[in-house]
């Protein structure tokens, strides 16, 4: 089973996680920039964080045979802090970078006017930089937040097919299914969604435009719940090809819209550790430049 985790926060995870993920079949992932638990108070700390998920973290992932990409954006929670608003000014230079495959995570937290303004501004940046957008849906007032998210996307000029609306559940999936946006599900040990509920959703809605992620971070989460979902799909009668579509081809199709997902490289990494050792050429040459 080959797995592309389209949403996981590896800066919060250990090298042991990378080893377990590789053993489970994870060969590529996307790390969205997000809220770190502790509020940030200046633009500089955002820049260091963006640099880390575009520099050190891809290098760390490569040592374990996993291709690492990122999404860059100002998250909704910190969009409310005026000290962090200047992050919008540094985004253009980050959104040009080779490993940035979407703008994100964007969206609403408490649905304030500030959040909406920053959300809209970043959807406009996605259009300018020809990137898709990864949009998070709020934990509280989720259904209303999801509807409003779709309204904002529709008004943005960004095609719905270039937008992935994430952290969906049984209540919100229908809204997004009808919008033309991609549907993301974060499989958690006991909250957002679990493998068996996910299988039920796949049975009802089909496999098109659906991606599954672990969204593993510094909270209670598990990077292998993508694999567990694949296993639950097989147990429920889905074919090997169905599992491959949900866990690999769908996320590849979504992020490939960036034009920056080196898909040939990804295919090469499947089944072989293309790690950052000097045995291969990769380290000597750096990236594929």
């Amino acid at each position: 089973m080959r797995i592309f985790d389209p949403h996981i926060h590896m800066t919060s995870r250990t090298t042991e996680d990378y080893e377990r993920m590789y053993s489970a079949g994870v060969r590529a992932l996307v790390e969205p920039s997000f809220w770190l638990g502790q509020p940030r108070t200046s633009v500089g700390t955002f820049c260091d964080y963006f640099d880390a998920i575009l520099g050190w973290e891809p290098f760390r992932a490569s040592q374990f045979g996993i291709a690492h990409f990122a999404t860059i954006g100002l998250n909704p929670k910190e969009a409310n802090d005026p000290r962090c608003r200047e992050v919008l000014d540094v985004l253009p230079r980050y959104l040009e970078k080779d490993r940035v495959v979407a703008v994100g995570e964007l969206g609403y937290d408490s649905m304030t006017p500030e959040e909406e303004e920053v959300f809209e501004a970043q959807l406009a940046l996605a259009v300018t930089h020809e990137l898709p957008a990864l949009v998070h849906t709020p934990h509280r007032d989720k259904l209303a937040g999801t509807r409003r998210t779709i309204d904002v996307v529709n008004a943005s000029g960004l095609e719905p097919g270039r937008v992935l609306v994430d952290h969906l559940n049984e209540v919100t999936v229908g809204e997004v299914a009808g919008s033309g946006c991609w549907m993301g599900f974060s499989i958690y040990p006991d909250t957002k969604m679990d493998p068996h509920r996910m299988v039920a959703i796949l049975k009802e809605y089909g496999l098109e435009r659906i991606v599954v992620n672990s969204a593993a971070d510094w909270g209670r989460s598990d990077p292998l719940l993508t694999l567990r979902t694949g296993e639950a799909m097989r147990a429920a009668g889905f074919s090997v090809d169905d599992v491959d579509r949900v866990l690999w081809r769908n996320p590849v199709e979504f992020y490939r819209q960036s034009g920056r997902l080196e898909i040939d490289d990804l295919d090469e990494t499947v089944g072989a550790v293309a790690g950052a050792t000097f045995e291969g050429n990769s380290v000597l040459r750096g990236s594929r430049d």
Binding site: F59, E96, D98, T277, V283, G286, S287, D289
Partner: protein, 194 residues
């Protein structure tokens, strides 16, 4: 005019355009059949201005860069240090970039930092640390420029001590240690590696 030609021409006329062109340059060059890193290096070589101005811009590009961009800057250093009829050599002005790369844990950056520019400009203490770091992190010493020319007694002593430490721990001594220890008076390595 291709994107590549346009980018080079614009940077020649307006140095600050390098900040716009550099981050996305590699994939756009590849799309036009041009080597991405080579274009990035050429963009830096095209920067107009005196050595101070060019060095300041290059350092900014490095500081704003992801790993691939930083690698391109490090690999441009020898050429930036070579004067042409329209540009003076940057001299040792870009040593801060080398020092930054040597502080990282990214072996690609460390290896690129130990190239010809470091050989020419980096002072002995930092250069020796760079060699031992390369050995320590598995970077082939063939990637360290000028190893034979700059190798001195202190470096031999450091590598000999490193070998002792590995042997004391029952661990393998990297074969490349010999590139430093070979042909030196036996007082150090004879004791360490036999």
């Amino acid at each position: 005019m291709t994107w590549t030609e346009e980018a080079l021409r614009t940077v020649q006329e307006d140095a600050s355009h390098v900040h716009v062109a550099f981050p996305g340059a590699a994939r756009r060059a590849r799309a036009e059949g041009v080597d991405g890193e080579r274009l990035r290096i050429d963009l830096l070589l095209a920067l107009p201005g005196d050595a101070d101005a060019v060095a300041a811009l290059v350092q900014e590009v490095y500081e704003h860069g992801d790993s691939a961009e930083k690698l391109a800057v490090l690999r441009a250093l020898p050429e930036l240090d070579h004067p042409t009829d329209r540009r003076e050599a940057v001299g040792d002005r870009l040593l801060p970039v080398v020092r930054d790369a040597l502080r990282t844990n990214d072996t690609r950056l460390v290896a690129a930092a130990m190239g010809p520019y470091a050989r020419t400009h980096l002072e002995d203490t930092a250069w020796r640390q760079g060699v031992v770091k390369a050995l320590f992190t598995g970077i082939p010493l063939a990637m360290v420029d000028g190893l034979d020319a700059r190798r001195d007694d202190t470096l031999v002593r450091m590598v000999s001590d490193f070998a002792d430490e590995r042997r004391a721990a029952g661990r393998e001594v990297p074969a490349d240690a010999w590139l430093v220890l070979v042909d030196t008076p036996s007082t150090h390595h004879g004791r360490s590696l036999r």
